[in-house]
């Protein structure tokens, strides 16, 4: 067996997909530029072929994992004979090579979907070219630098592999990376529509509508990916929290912030034809930041539990980032005069101004986060000592900005487009403002030292009040107009008739619930390190914890040390249940992991992580980290509400397209 590539269909499909995508990029460009329809169609076919070939590559890699084909170095490094089949599948993206391939395949799949659904004759050739540039760039990096079809450099065929990183052997890891990558790569479509509009000169409202639809899809996946990532960190890393402002977490957060800003500012362009240059810039920045996130994770310039740096991938990605940034700047400069908006802001007391403020705050958070991530790199590059920026910086800077953002979520729905009167505003705002103020006063009365918590909870109630008020008013008017609809029916009608607005409010509701959970679990968190001995209970936050037993268990690919901890109510002594925190040792990788156990209620989570057996106590006692996280449950509930709202937005966006298509078909038939 020689070092190099084996004649394997997956390897061939990867190279073929790359070549075909390169052709699609060049052919699409010349087809669009010279207006040659044959060439443009040939490039389109190449893009679709690249999609099919790259998907085949991924399937081929999955087959290699499932067959334990250790001739291939990537399979040997990331799996072993004892892993269950579902982790063999997640092992595909468990390392650098496979994760880069997944990026390329998803880019390619999104490209195929976008092209197949694009009906614009003017935009499609440019769209083909830009999408193929993105796909080709990533597939080229995979082919030349991180090829997962490389052979093991040995003459002896290994009989077992190294196994997957134990931290990744968690059910969340089956879905979280997929959602995250679907989010990241999905932003290529809005970017491509944006560039296609700039290059073709077709700056009508069409591109912005299409970009908005696909941004919603990508944003939805990214949101789910980030929340699942937080859940994974919560149950797997054992430090009691879910968000540590880790560089790689921040890398996923940066494009989320700019995409959120875009989804708001795009409404202003649709309604008032304003912020056109701003929207083009935001759309491009979002995609640039997704690639930047990939660069951060894979270049090794920052340290993180999630990062994996090998080879020269960083240089490739940096080159691509420079290319797409230059392309954006040049095309915006080229179309600058056509992009300038004919409309201007009539009043700062208007909904468009509220959207603008929202964008400025989101970009402020984005810049602060970017600065925090890159500060160690900048300080080292300038010759200073490499200093790490920790969570206190992010919390202090971003915390108040998030509160301003949430306040805008309450203020925005109460005002109208163009201009407003204070009298009208006062009539609508007083009830939620009174409710919010009452909550603030109540919290200050309970604990006067926690002013930030009191103000935050007051603000959340204010926003909740304005959103509920919006639903209530719209449903009441609907009932008046329809004469005969019930309360619930009119509420559903309101959402169905204007899903892009009320879907957005549902997302905002989710954000408020999440903010309640984050604030409470951060400010009121209780944590303590215990050494629990058999039969000797300890108390914390109203719970009594007693170690009942320590059991060692042997599984196929790991050995577990499992503690049984009985939980009682400290006051009544009533048994509330048992928790089973574990430590697992994976012999293949010689790594130990912590598997926490929680008792989750809507009020608080009791969270226990096993630190290990105390050597002095031998098997009669163990060290534990115990946390009480108030209202943690609402973080996940908020995430689910956000997902529900996003689904309303996405379905409505694509259904409208379908309605338009159907009506076009109908009118064509009538005409014929």
């Amino acid at each position: 067996m020689s070092d190099g590539f084996v004649l394997h269909f997956g390897g061939f499909a990867l190279v073929a997909a790359t070549v075909v995508a390169v052709y699609g990029a060049i052919g699409g460009f010349f087809g669009a530029w010279k207006e040659r329809e044959g060439l443009a169609r040939s490039a389109y076919n190449a893009a679709i072929a690249a999609t099919c070939l790259s998907v085949t590559t991924l399937i081929a890699l999955a087959v290699l994992f499932l067959r334990h084909d250790y001739r291939f170095a990537y399979v040997w490094q990331n799996s072993n004979n004892d892993m269950p089949p579902w982790y063999l599948v997640s092992a595909i993206w468990g390392g650098m090579d496979g994760s880069m391939l997944l990026w390329g395949v998803m880019l390619s799949a999104y490209s195929g979907l976008a092209l197949a659904s694009c009906t614009s004759k003017k935009l499609r050739p440019w769209l083909t070219s830009i999408l193929c540039v993105s796909t080709a760039s990533f597939l080229l990096i995979v082919t030349l630098s991180t090829n997962p079809f490389r052979l093991v450099p040995t003459l002896i065929m290994p009989t077992n592999g190294n196994g997957l990183n134990p931290l990744l052997q968690n059910p969340s890891m089956l879905i979280h990376p997929i959602c995250l990558y679907l989010g990241f790569t999905g932003f290529v479509i809005p970017f491509a529509y944006c560039m296609a509009a700039l290059l073709s000169g077709d700056l009508s409202g069409q591109w912005i509508q299409l970009a908005r639809r696909w941004t919603l899809v990508a944003w939805g996946f990214l949101t789910v990916g980030i929340i699942l990532g937080g859940h994974w960190a919560y149950i797997e890393l054992g430090w009691g929290g879910f968000w540590a402002w880790d560089p790689v977490e921040n890398a996923s957060f940066l494009p989320w912030l700019t995409a959120t800003a875009f989804l708001h500012s795009v409404i202003v362009q649709e309604r008032r034809n304003m912020l056109r240059i701003w929207n083009v810039s935001l759309c491009a920045l979002t995609y640039i930041l997704t690639v930047f996130g990939t660069f951060l994770t894979r270049s090794g310039i920052v340290q993180s539990v999630h990062a994996f740096a090998e080879g020269n991938v960083g240089q490739w990605l940096l080159t691509y980032i420079v290319f797409i940034t230059l392309l954006t700047i040049v095309t915006i400069a080229y179309r600058y005069r056509e992009l300038r908006s004919p409309e201007s802001l009539e009043s700062y007391f208007s909904r468009e101004a509220a959207f603008l403020f929202n964008n400025l705050v989101l970009l402020g958070i984005c810049f602060a986060t970017f600065w925090g991530v890159m500060f160690p790199v900048f300080s080292e590059a300038l010759g200073y000592e490499k200093s790490v920026v920790g969570p206190p910086f992010f919390n202090q800077v971003n915390g108040p900005l998030f509160l301003v953002l949430i306040a805008l979520m309450g203020y925005g729905p109460l005002i109208s487009w163009k201009r407003n009167s204070w009298q009208n505003f006062a009539k609508l705002v007083w009830r939620p403002l009174l409710a919010g103020s009452a909550v603030t006063v109540l919290f200050l009365g309970i604990d006067g030292t926690r002013i930030i918590a009191a103000v935050s909870f007051g603000l959340f109630v204010f926003v909740l009040g304005t959103i509920m008020g919006e639903f209530h008013r719209a449903a009441r008017i609907r009932r008046e107009l329809s004469q005969g609809e019930g309360a619930l029916q009119s509420l559903v009608s309101v959402v169905r008739r204007k899903p892009e607005r009320y879907g957005g409010y549902i997302v905002h509701l989710g954000v408020v619930f999440m903010a309640v959970g984050i604030t409470a679990s951060t400010i009121y968190k209780i944590e303590k390190d215990f050494v629990l001995k058999l039969g000797q209970p300890a108390e914390l936050g109203g719970y009594s914890l007693e170690l009942m037993s320590l059991q060692e268990e042997q599984f196929k690919n790991y050995a577990a040390l499992r503690a049984v901890v009985q939980v009682r109510d400290a006051a009544s002594r009533q048994i509330l249940g048992e928790l089973h925190p574990e430590q697992r040792f994976y012999p293949a990788s010689q790594q130990t992991t912590t598997e926490v156990d929680t008792r989750a209620t809507p009020w608080q989570d009791l969270y226990i992580a096993l630190g290990g057996i105390d050597p002095e106590l031998k098997e009669t006692g163990a060290a534990f980290k115990v946390f009480i996280n108030p209202l943690q449950f609402w973080v996940w509930v908020g995430g689910m509400i956000m997902l529900g709202g996003t689904l309303v937005l996405v379905v409505s966006a694509f259904r409208m397209r379908q309605v338009v298509r159907e009506s076009v078909v109908t009118s064509s038939v009538v005409r014929a």
Binding site: L7, H8, K121
Partner: protein, 103 residues
């Protein structure tokens, strides 16, 4: 040569042929004539515009009844939207009339 290698070679050759044909065939076709000006795409854009104007009118009505707008601002915005709607409908009529005549 084992059966697996043979299947690999066969799949590789077959895929190469299909992909090559898909890419080359559009280049060999004769250039098509002028594309009809009123394409489905343009109709679709206009229908989008109409739908948006009607949605804006409905939203305006709700905002006025909610008490967010003065009657003066409401009347002015409503007139503007009616004018926009009239313009879009007129534009659509101008472009579909020749087709009706042809039919």
């Amino acid at each position: 040569m084992d059966i697996g290698t043979l299947i690999n070679i066969a799949l590789t050759v077959l895929t190469s042929l299909v992909v090559s044909w898909a890419i080359i065939s559009p280049l060999l076709e004769l250039p098509a004539g002028e594309v009809a000006l009123t394409s489905a795409e343009e109709v679709s854009v206009r229908q989008d515009q109409r739908r948006e104007i009607f949605a804006e009118l409905e939203e305006l009505e709700i905002e006025f009844r909610s008490g967010k707008l003065d009657s003066e601002d409401y009347q002015q915005s409503r007139d503007e939207l009616f004018q926009k709607a009239a313009a879009v409908i007129a534009e659509g009529d101008n472009e579909t009339t020749p087709h009706r005549r042809e039919a």
